[in-house]
């Protein structure tokens, strides 16, 4: 995710190079896979000459090779084609004012889910996401969020037999 900081409104030359971040990511991933493979013990075995190490080494090498090739490709002006879609408008740059609050709501849910319980954390997740995406009808959005979280809680409990954490509302729900 390091390359994302550069994706906003820089000159084209700099902006285009942000893809080098992906090459770096691939390189790091390859190095980690190879490092991890290096500490595996390969027991001598006639019937398993492949051992636990072979595939990790191949995959790590593949990642390193693609990392180098991608870096070369980007420096030579190659660009990945960003994905399009029905609701995707690529004419404006990535809107971090939407994505970061969304990620924030997500993290908040992770932190709260086991402590405060799903109903509270889920409501905040939905509400926060709607707000981040531009919903400004606070009351309606809040009620919808609460309804969704409650519905999920009871739906999972009665329908699937899965007990989502009730958290501080234990006893009430």
């Amino acid at each position: 995710m390091t390359q994302q900081a550069t994706a906003t409104g820089k000159p084209a030359a700099v902006k285009g190079r942000s893809e080098l971040g992906i090459a770096a990511l691939l390189g790091v991933a390859g190095a980690v896979v190879l490092w991890d493979a290096s500490r595996l013990v390969v027991p001598y075995s006639v019937s398993d000459p492949v051992g636990p190490k072979t595939l990790p080494v191949i995959i790590g090498t593949l990642l390193l090779v693609t990392a180098v090739l991608l870096a070369v490709n980007v420096l030579r002006g190659g660009r990945g084609q960003a994905e399009e879609g029905e609701d995707v408008d690529l004419s404006h740059p990535a809107d971090w004012k939407t994505v970061l609050p969304l990620a924030g709501a997500f993290v908040l849910n992770i932190l709260l889910i086991d402590v405060a319980g799903w109903v509270i954390s889920g409501t905040l997740l939905f509400w926060g996401s709607v707000w981040a995406l531009g919903g400004r009808n606070y009351l309606r959005d809040g009620l919808v969020s609460l309804a969704m979280a409650l519905l999920a809680f009871y739906g999972f409990y009665f329908g699937l037999g899965i007990k989502l954490p009730a958290g501080i509302l234990a006893g009430i729900l």
């Binding site: 593949l62 990642l63 693609t66 879609g85 029905e86 990535a94 849910n109 919903g135």
Partner: protein, 516 residues
């Protein structure tokens, strides 16, 4: 027992009230996600995976297949009325279909798409029922070495043939294979890529990875580029077709089906190529060439049929060989594995009730889809007006809910966010999603097959190519890997212009081989 009897038994499975209900649910959900922007069948199935843990596997797969077929129907509605195809396979439908809609012929465009999808889906499913047992009969005689070769072929074709950039395809494949390594080595029990985190030693849950890449990554990506100006949909009445429309549609339907099924069945065929081919065929054969580019009904009928027939084709290698060839099939394979069902040629032997119930349910689902799509198209079109904040907040909400419900641990949500960020970056920088998912699913199976092959040959390397099929498939793999060089040489001798036929010829060759 012959195929026909097995199919009849399948119908008795699929027609139980429970399974019929799941088929209905599947086609309704499928149509909805097909119509809704931002959600496709693969994401929908990924989101539903955690909810189906306790279901009967047959019922769950019947629902998933309904979603797959339904997504194809719903996708055409969006392309015709909105002119922004969500999937590459409906690009062509959008070209002619949207022109028709603008010219006030939306009803006919929707009708020919829906009826063509029905015709193609039904014929395609019949071909699936006829061909899959033949493929199985052939495949059960294969040893691990051949099976290994076929899986390697599947992996490489998905990576090297599809997508704009092979390099980025291989990068994505590498990431998927690496994610698949996490956990215990199946033979020696050593930890790989666990980093001392006990929660990782069981490996990454495939459901969590699929939800992260398909749902979280996609929702974040769309959020970053959310369309500010709302798009206008073309209002539509009841779909119907006049006599002239029928006359002009039925041949393209059949031709589209003939193109779509074989392409769907090959390791890297997909739905995209046959729709393009169908379009160019119809353009050549039409008696109304002046209408092409201005809303020719043949240009909707053919590609839509090709699109749906390819969906049936995709299920052939999935059920007969355990080889997924597109994202939706990949997620369906993940579903099979979630239920502890071993995919592969033995599936037909070990799970006849499931396989034939599933195939029979496809016939039923197709009919249901025609019934719910033809009269209710205006209703479905209203789904396009859903407030976007609710839609994408909902995707994130259900993604979180599902991933958490798998193991009830917040740690899975951290993985969900990290891999969701990866999915976002991949979309931003044009790394295709498919090789990652296929690599994640096939990687561990390739490794175990490889080691099984060696065990059977007592460690002799020749165990890798002791079967003729394996040798043939490896030659094919070599051909695909060397294809860029071959193409380069080709262009040296015959500069420019020949690109499309050359690619088509290569694909046909592959097609020939992949049917074996």
């Amino acid at each position: 027992m012959d195929t026909f009897n097995l199919l009849l038994q399948g119908f008795s499975t699929a027609l139980t009230p429970m399974n019929l209900m799941f088929a209905c649910l599947g086609v309704l959900l499928g149509t909805a996600v097909g119509v809704l922007p931002g959600i496709g069948p693969a994401m929908a199935i990924a989101l539903l995976l955690p909810l189906t843990y306790n279901l009967e596997p047959t019922s769950a797969l019947i629902m998933f297949a309904g979603i797959y077929y339904g997504g194809m129907y719903g996708g055409s509605t969006t392309s015709i009325l909105l002119n922004t195809p969500g999937e590459s396979s409906t690009v062509i439908t959008a070209i002619e279909g949207h022109k028709m809609a603008k010219a006030g012929r939306a009803a006919q465009a929707l009708a020919t798409a829906a009826i063509g999808s029905f015709v193609a889906g039904t014929i395609g499913t019949a071909l699936l029922a006829a061909f899959a047992p033949l493929v199985v009969k052939f495949a059960v005689s294969l040893g691990p070495s051949s099976y290994l070769a076929i899986m390697v072929l599947g992996l490489l074709t998905v990576t090297a043939v599809l997508g704009a950039s092979k390099l980025r395809g291989f990068a994505s494949l590498g990431l998927g294979l690496a994610i698949g390594l996490v956990g215990l080595d199946p033979v020696t029990g050593q930890q790989r890529l666990v980093f001392g985190i006990p929660l990782l030693s069981d490996g990454l849950d495939i459901v969590v990875v699929a939800v992260a890449i398909f749902a979280v990554g996609e929702a974040l990506w769309i959020a970053a580029h959310l369309r500010r100006n709302t798009m206008s949909t073309i209002p539509v009445g009841q779909p119907w077709m006049g006599k002239q429309d029928w006359k002009r549609s039925w041949k393209p339907w059949l031709r589209g089906t003939a193109l779509g099924f074989p392409f769907g069945a090959m390791p890297a065929g997909g739905a995209e190529v046959p729709t393009f081919l169908s379009y160019s065929v119809e353009k050549k054969l039409t008696k109304h060439p002046e209408e092409f580019g201005h809303g020719a009904i043949e240009g909707v009928a053919g590609p839509e049929a090709a699109n749906n027939a390819s969906a049936a084709g995709t299920l052939t290698p999935l059920l007969a060989l355990g080889l997924p060839t597109n994202a939706t099939a990949g997620v369906m394979l993940a579903a099979l594995m979630q239920f502890g069902i071993q995919p592969g040629p033995l599936l037909f032997q070990n799970e006849p009730v499931l396989v034939w119930g599933l195939i029979a349910s496809l016939f039923i689902g197709n009919t249901l889809l025609l019934l719910i799509n033809l009269p209710m198209a205006p209703l479905w079109a209203r789904l396009l007006g859903i407030p976007r904040p609710y839609l994408y907040a909902g995707i994130l909400f259900f993604a979180t809910l599902g991933a958490y419900a798998v193991n009830l641990q917040a740690f899975d949500l951290v993985i969900l966010l990290v891999l969701g960020a990866l999915g976002f970056a991949m979309r931003r920088f044009g790394l295709p999603i498919l090789p990652l998912i296929i690599g994640l699913i096939l990687g561990p199976r390739i490794e175990s097959q490889l080691r099984k092959a060696f065990q059977l040959s007592a460690g002799d390397v020749s165990g890798l190519w002791n079967e003729p099929v394996a040798v043939v498939v490896y030659l094919l793999v070599a051909l695909i890997l060397c294809w860029p060089l071959v193409a380069l040489a080709w262009h040296r001798f015959r500069p420019a212009k020949e690109e499309e036929p050359a690619r088509g010829a290569g694909i046909e060759q592959e097609l020939h081989q992949s049917r074996l």
